[in-house]
Amino acid sequence: MSPTDPTKASATELSTALANGDVSSLELTEHFLERIKRLNPTINAVITVTEDAARQDAIEADQRIAAGDQGPLTGIPLLHKDIFCTNGVLTTCASRMLDNFVPPYDATVVARLRDAGTVMLGKTNMDEFAMGSSNETSFYGPTVNPWDVSRVPGGSSGGSAAAVAAGFAPLSTGTDTGGSIRQPAALCGITGLKPTYGRVSRLGIIAFASSLDQAGPMTRTVEDAALMLSAIAGMDSGDSTSADRPVPDFRADLGGNIEGLRIGIPREYFSDDLDTAIAAQVKTALSELESEGAKLIDIDLPHTRDAIATYYVIAPAEASTNLSRYDGVRFGHRCAQPKDLEDLYFRSRTEGFGDEVKRRILVGTYVLSSGFYDAYFKRAQQVRRIISEDFSRAFEQVDVIAGPATPGTAFPLGSKNNDPVSMYMEDIYTLAVNLAGLPGLSLPAGAVNGLPVGLQLIGRAFDESTLLKAGHRLQQRTDWHRRAPDVEVSR
């Protein structure tokens, strides 16, 4: 085994070790498989482990490396959120509804990472159908936070975030509809990027809210996120909403300084909603960027709070119809002995979906129904445009917008389960970014009471490079991203 501890190493470091022959992909794979086997019963971050296929992939990766035919991600083990369809591998979306679903195809993100030579170790836990901010809505039980197992890891990509934090893999994939990459990344002390809407193909990702969903990397470092984004980004003819735009070499774009970078600080992001200790940590991180030559400029995003109501109309509306296909007819859960068609629908869906999913289907159905469409859905679309214009105006003055990723640190399991609105408040800083389709990067920026705090950087559409560069500068100056929980102890 290499001098670096793979549990704490970045993918970039492991890539170097692989290229130097310090370690093989198979050794790395065995290392992480063993760790998952030992610690997953505590963390519950992984739903399915694909042990045999992983070894096979690792052997092939080692052959590519031996032949000098490798890319930067060849041989790197990773985990996919269980929302990505994986050919021949159970894909549940953490729902009883898909407890038996094995897709005959790979999501484009999965295929591209496979082509890049990554080794899939398995599939990570999540909130059911990505609906939740705590990973507690999973049919397979909650994932817990590796920093404190009595607390949530955030959600919906909580399994992916906890897995990277717990050293199950250096990389994982996530999806982000209203903060589902950035919020768990912040609560677990890792780096998570939600790319611009359209940057990454949605084909093969089980849809939650189609106009908001976007896949992205969850990693230890910004450099790894850049590497991974280059691998998954780019036009896909199978997704009409994927953007036909050139994909930069995001890692190469990390170089250089951020002298003169204008960073906007929205007053609304530092209001009473925010925990004061977190505010202090975020401000410290911002002053680090200032030391690198960035200029901090106060700005306004006046419709920040409207994002919550807007999001909780649009997302459930889209979800309510996206989830109509789960009817017990062709795949997924079917109730036993249906009496007739209505009974088949009624019981299959009643049994197959959990409470939060049902709540959102009901809300979504309501806001689209005749007589309410104009008052809710249409109005929400109008407000969505206004929120988007807030950002456009702000980006006339600044290059990047920065603030906290979440209003608080990881909260205790069960503490918000009976209060959906307080749960929805978790995403107050992230939702608007999805509504506007912008890229958002969450990265570790300190801790409060031993729990990680996340800084969020928001960029112009398709300008992930600037976000990543600023984030990378911060990680060059600080070591928050290097801190890892001692999972062995927290057991």
Partner: protein
């Protein structure tokens, strides 16, 4: 009370694209169940629609064909309802912003006149699959081959007053879409399905009554019958002081009645909203212009040209252009023999009768346009009398060769041998002394009339084969001798 029937039609037209509207599966009719359905058609998790641009082009062709406004920007919407043959639980359609806006369609009526119908809109959508109720005992099978087949739904204003108009519209629509090459328009295979919205109002009133919608009437004849019985049903209700319930009804051809669909099947709130998986369809002038350039001459303009260029009657022209193949056949035959009126008569007469008898389309007939032209040439040059021509046509139909071959082989050539004809003429003159005397006493004008008698007798004696021209020439000479 005398009632006026008011109707609007909705036609679902399957577009003849090679693949489905949102997936790469083929969309042929009649394949084994579920062999033409891929992961997109099955609504599998994570699958996304990708718009078939050919379907868009076909919709634009239709729009241009009825002079409609083409939406420079059209948007797909989801129409939500649960049914086992609707895999996603929603149908992708266009509700708020359709691709084809208002147009006008001039429908030729059986009497040759034109009846204008206003097209309200036409929009693209995907077809659903089929529920198969008779394949498994106590269970319903689902065949998703048809799911995702592109449909153009064409909606008219309530401009129809009679069943005859509705049928004429459907026939003209069938003709138009086959000209445009966008659909085979085959009603029996479901390529063209018609819903009729129908209401009654007192004659003279201009407010609309309560309507019912008769779904999926799948032949011209059934449309006519369904309208008749539904009109009667509504008139009976109204005459008895009852009211018509706004509802969807099915036409039952076996019982020749319409009946209400269970309200559960139709009481849907479709919750339309813009389909987030697809971008709006944006069409620029250049694209529309290039599609316009590619359109063939359509039935309307062709009909006008036939009337003008070939001096055909409105009626004949309308019939000839009703199918592009027939119009092409006509022009091809005319090019060979330059006898438009004769060609029209033969196509609409003997040829159509033979095709109907054997249930063939014009592109399946054994008599090619040039073969028919060969026959007509011999009629025009008097080689054949019309009686002989019918026999030659029979030979053509049976594949006995060209008109000239058949004339030769069947010995149908007119007798033009002077000696033979003179002998026949002499016989007739000898046997009809009274008529001869009458003829010789008459003036020139009267003589012309009376000569017909002798020609008729001679033709009879020759079993129709005497060359009538030569006969009258020789006859004049003999009679004036």
């Amino acid at each position: 009370m005398p009632w006026e029937t008011v109707m609007g039609l909705e036609v679902h037209l399957q577009l003849a694209t090679d693949s489905k509207i949102f997936s790469g599966s083929p969309s042929r009719f009649g394949a084994e169940p579920n062999v033409q359905a891929d992961a997109v058609d099955l609504g599998m998790p994570g699958m996304l629609p990708v718009l078939n641009t050919r379907a868009v082009e076909f919709a634009v062709r239709f729009g241009l064909g009825v002079g409609a406004k083409i939406g420079r920007r059209s948007v797909f919407d989801r129409k939500n309802y649960f049914y086992p043959d609707l895999p996603k639980g929603y149908q992708i359609s266009q509700f708020f912003e359709p691709i084809v806006g208002e147009g006008l369609f001039e429908v030729p009526m059986p009497d040759g006149s034109l009846f204008p119908i206003r097209i309200l809109r036409a929009h693209l959508e995907e077809d659903a699959g089929k529920s198969v109720h008779d394949a498994f005992p106590d269970q319903t099978g689902i065949d998703l081959n048809r799911a995702g087949t592109p449909l153009l739904e064409i909606v008219t204003e309530p401009d129809f007053r009679t069943a005859e108009q509705a049928v004429a519209y459907l026939k003209a629509l069938h003709s138009l879409v086959t000209y445009l090459g966008i659909s085979d328009g085959n009603m029996s295979e479901g390529s063209m399905r018609c819903d009729v919205n129908i209401s009654l109002r007192p004659v003279g009133s201009d407010t609309l009554g309560t309507r019912t919608e008769i779904k999926n009437v799948n032949s011209f004849r059934f449309v006519e019958k369904a309208i008749e019985v539904e009109t009667e049903r509504q008139a009976d209700l109204l005459d008895n002081g009852e009211t018509v319930t706004q509802e969807t009804r099915l036409y039952d051809a076996d019982r020749n009645e319409t009946r209400s669909m269970r309200s559960k099947e139709v009481a849907n709130d479709y919750r339309y909203f813009p389909e987030p998986d697809l971008l709006p369809v944006v069409l620029d002038e250049a694209t529309i212009e290039s599609i316009a350039q590619s359109l063939p001459e359509l039935p309307g303009p062709k009909r006008a040209r036939f009337i003008e260029q070939y001096t055909l009657s409105d009626y004949d022209a309308a019939l000839l252009v009703s199918s592009r193949a027939m119009a092409d056949y006509f022009e091809s035959a005319v090019a060979d023999c330059d006898e438009p009126k004769l060609v029209a008569n033969w196509i609409l007469g003997d040829l159509s009768a033979a095709m109907n008898r054997e249930d063939l389309d014009i592109d399946q007939t054994p008599v090619s346009a040039s073969a028919l032209a060969g026959l007509i040439t011999r009629i025009a040059d008097n080689t054949l009398s019309s009686k002989l021509a019918k026999q030659v046509f029979e030979g053509l139909w049976l594949g006995e060769g060209s008109a000239d071959d058949i004339i030769e082989a069947r010995g149908l050539k007119q007798v033009s041998d002077t000696g033979e004809l003179e002998a026949m003429i002499d016989d007739v003159i000898t046997n009809n002394p009274d008529q001869v005397a009458q003829y010789q006493a008459a003036d020139e004008a009267k003589q012309k009339k009376l000569s017909g008698f002798f020609v008729g007798q001679i033709m009879k004696a020759s079993k129709g084969q005497a060359n009538p021209q030569l006969v009258s020439q020789l006859l004049m000479k003999k009679l004036s001798d």
